[in-house]
Amino acid sequence: MVSGSSWLNDLGYAWLVVRAILFSLVGILLLVGFIVFRRWYRGRYFDRLSRRTLALRAQWPEILSGATSGTAWRLNSFDCRIVEDILLDSIQVCDEEQLPTFLICLRNSGLLDLRVRQARSAEGWEQRSALLALGRTRAPEAVPALVEALGSPSEETIVAAVRGLSRISSPQAAMPLLELFVSEQLNVPEHILKNALLNCCRRNPALLVPYLNSAQGRTRELIARVLGELANPSLGEDLLTLAADPLPEVRASAARALARVPPEISFPVLSILALDTEWFVRLRAVIALSTIEHHRKAYVLLRALCDLNRHVRQRAAWALARVHQGKEEILEKVVATRDNYALQAFLSELERDDSLDEALDGLGKVVNQAAGAADVEGVAAAVRKHFAGRGTVAAAMNDDLVEEESVMPDDFVLQYDLPGLERRGSLDSALDGRGNIVDRVPGATAVEDAAEVVTKYFIGLDKAGEGNRRQQ
């Protein structure tokens, strides 16, 4: 080494480099050696695993019935793991009738006790894998060990315990989860908790109701969301109460749940939720309405077709286009709304449903009146022309909507009617204005211009509405 600044020379410049080279070369050799060894070892391991699995599978009926002595495989950790894997995989896909056979084998062989012990006394990954395995057993006696792990200081262990309880999928597993959650002592990602509650309360969703009633804020929203997925007709009354909840997320969940309740109970409530102040509640209500059968739902959907929110409009259009009878009449009423967006959304959905021609046939082939009306916009223009001057339809439709109010239950009218009327008043004026505004935008293809004008218009509306609310 000829040169190098003094401080590097003092460090032993060349010495350092040579050491680094040696270190790197040794490192490379070690890594390569490790890769080769690991591949070789895994190859051998899987060969052995395959051989032993085959041997154990040959004795499977005896192992399951206990005819083969447990000591033959239970005291060999390799065989023990194979048998446990087969048992847990079988439990995962078996039905309720087959489950006891597998559970008896798990209990008699002591495998279940082994996992319970690991879940209680082991640490780290060993404990977490024991918790997950316990969950997969679906055994009721696994629940206490899993619940104990919910009190662990390690967040990952708690998550593993929640996942384990989720796999148990029984109300006994749900209750400790709910109790801890409602008392705000359970801090796990929402997604995991929701899935766990969904699995555990599937057979008995009513279990959620008392906890929902005592929960507040985000906890309440989460439980309501799960209930929304699991609701069944027996929960009708409880869901009606939720529909009047001050939290919009809860109202949206109620709307989702009401789709599974008999229409005579759900329809009046869904009609009100379809007028909610929050767009996602209205959307949920419209989706639920689209799934139920009720002779009056078309009127509510027509109103939703004129919603300020495009998702609500589109979904209402989707539902209306799939109404089995009376599409011509619906089309007539859509035109009567004088809402260009509503008309185009509906015609577009009719086209997607391949029923546009059928609906137009009923109106005397109006499409033929428009030269070159090959697309929805052309058809829309033709339809508008066809209905020009038929203002009586709009009046008839308003009458229908008023009549619709009369089917609402009294308690809901008390809560919703006055604000609902107020809201509807502003909605009507907004729609009138929107019709004018869209007409001022040349052609729907200038989507950006249209969007800009409409957005500005609605921003103005929102501000005006906010001002009105403040004055009140």
Binding site: V2, A20, E156, R167, L198, A345, D353
Partner: protein
């Protein structure tokens, strides 16, 4: 005077190399630890059903420019992904071929009067198409603004989901990749704002109808070297940086973002050369400016397979463009450097990107030159010169072998003995002569950027489209 300069230069280079290698070694160690954790965690994540009704909806954005040949197969494969709430938005970015016509015909699409609100300014969207066969499919036809970012922005405007996932039209996602990448969000949905997945090289693999049937290593040397390079970049670099919440980039080929935040930062910057890197740095800036707690995550097993350049010309252009993008973003965000407000981003990752990514080709060229000069002038012994080169080479090879180890331990996409042996052999060539070649290409990118040439040179792609159609 010259000798003194050479000495100082050599010493600085020595320190630079030492530092660079130590950082890489630290990243490798962190990555080994994080990858092993991920393997264990996956067992639990798989227990959260992919079909859960609580999975948040995703809008998959596919910018397509002249993709007539492969677009149908690719859209079909995206529609078949295992994810319960999925919307696929293809943005036909002013294609001059029959991309739009092919889509309209194949998926029974028709114009739909959907309100398109241009929250992020883009080139004009001329029509929106919906499919009567696939309700989840939407096609936006827009005029080309000459950049992918503009097409993605249009897709973001039209998206209706809280999360948007950007995918290249010529890439293939594994069936469960969305469920896996969303595990990175769902572990902490309040904090996680973006997640990147791994991008792997498709060349050489067997593809049928945009579905990956068999994974094989490519045959060409240049493609094989890129496989090693990608493994090192993703499994070591991104995994380790994400561990410190310092992920500087999520690949434009596959990443998921919170839509509301992307809207707040006005989407992808249309005039950015490297729009993916630029977006992530701006996300860091926005969130730090607003004192928001956040995490930008990386999940190493949701895989996107993409075609890599298979000739030197295309690879040179790609690398030059990447380097222009790097320089462009770093220059645009230079005010974040060493600012207290930007914490670790301003003090660690951005200086690292400047010193060890952006300026590295320049420093390496200067370093090699001064070392040769010093050796010629006799102020550096030839032995030391060789030792120094050997040190740099051996250490960098160690990191590459480490990335193959990570692949072998955790993901094993290349399962045959021959393939692993081939990967290990090619680790020896990644740092001589491949690295020197990429250094020259990156220098070219730097030079072009400084001259103001930020044009997008189209890459020659040969394999995937043909395979997809076949």
């Amino acid at each position: 005077m010259i000798l003194q300069f050479l000495q100082v230069s050599n010493d600085s280079l020595f320190v630079y190399y030492l530092l660079s290698n130590l950082i890489n070694l630290a990243l490798l160690i962190v990555a080994i630890y994080k990858n092993s954790l991920h393997r264990h965690r996956l067992a639990g994540v798989r227990m959260d059903s992919a079909a859960s009704p609580f999975s948040p909806p995703i809008s998959l954005l596919v910018p397509a420019h002249n993709e007539e040949l492969g677009i149908v197969a690719n859209v079909n494969s995206l529609l078949q992904l295992d994810y319960p709430e999925l919307e696929v938005i293809v943005v036909n970015d002013g294609s001059r071929d029959k991309t739009l016509e092919t889509l309209v015909k194949s998926f029974h699409m028709h114009r739909a009067p959907i309100v398109y609100i241009s929250e992020i300014g883009t080139a004009s969207v001329t029509a929106i198409y919906r499919s009567s066969a696939h309700p989840r499919l939407l096609v936006l036809d827009k005029e080309s603004a000459g950049c992918k970012a503009d097409a993605i922005n249009a897709g973001i405007n039209a998206a209706t989901s809280p999360y948007v996932c950007v995918v290249d039209a010529d890439s293939i996602l594994e069936k469960d990749s969305l469920s896996r990448i969303m595990a990175g969000v769902m572990c902490d949905p309040e904090r996680v704002v973006a997640v990147g997945g791994i991008v792997r090289i498709l060349n050489g693999s067997k593809v049928e109808g945009a579905e990956l049937k068999e994974v094989h290593l490519p045959r060409k040397h240049i493609e094989l070297l890129q496989v090693i390079e990608y493994l090192r970049a993703f499994l070591v670099g991104r995994e380790a940086w994400a561990g410190f919440n310092l992920l500087p980039i999520i690949s434009g080929a596959f990443g998921i973002f919170r839509r509301d935040l992307v809207l707040k930062i006005k989407g992808f910057r249309a005039d950015a050369v490297g729009e993916d890197f630029d977006l992530i740095v701006r996300l860091h800036r926005y969130l730090l400016d607003h004192d928001t707690e956040y995490h930008i995550n990386f999940i190493p097993d949701p895989t996107c397979w993409t075609e890599a350049p298979s000739d030197y010309g295309s690879l040179a252009r790609q690398r030059a463009r990447w380097h222009k993008g790097l320089l462009d973003t770093l220059w645009a965000t230079r005010d974040m450097l060493f600012r207290k407000r930007y914490g670790r981003v301003g003090w660690v990752i951005l200086p690292y990107m400047w010193l060890f990514e952006c300026l590295s080709p320049l420093l390496e060229v200067v370093g090699y030159t001064t070392m040769i000069l010093a050796a010629v002038c006799g102020c550096l012994s030839h032995e030391f010169f060789l030792e120094f080169l050997l040190f740099g080479y051996a250490f960098a090879t160690l990191i590459s072998v480490g990335s193959v180890l990570l692949e072998e331990m955790n993901y094993r996409r290349y399962s045959r003995w021959r393939e692993v042996a081939l990967l290990l052999v090619y680790c020896l060539f990644e740092h001589l002569p491949y690295r020197q070649l990429t250094m020259l290409w990156r220098l070219r990118g730097m030079w072009e950027y400084l001259r103001g040439d930020v044009r997008w040179h189209e890459l020659k792609r040969t394999g995937v489209s043909a395979q997809v159609e076949g």
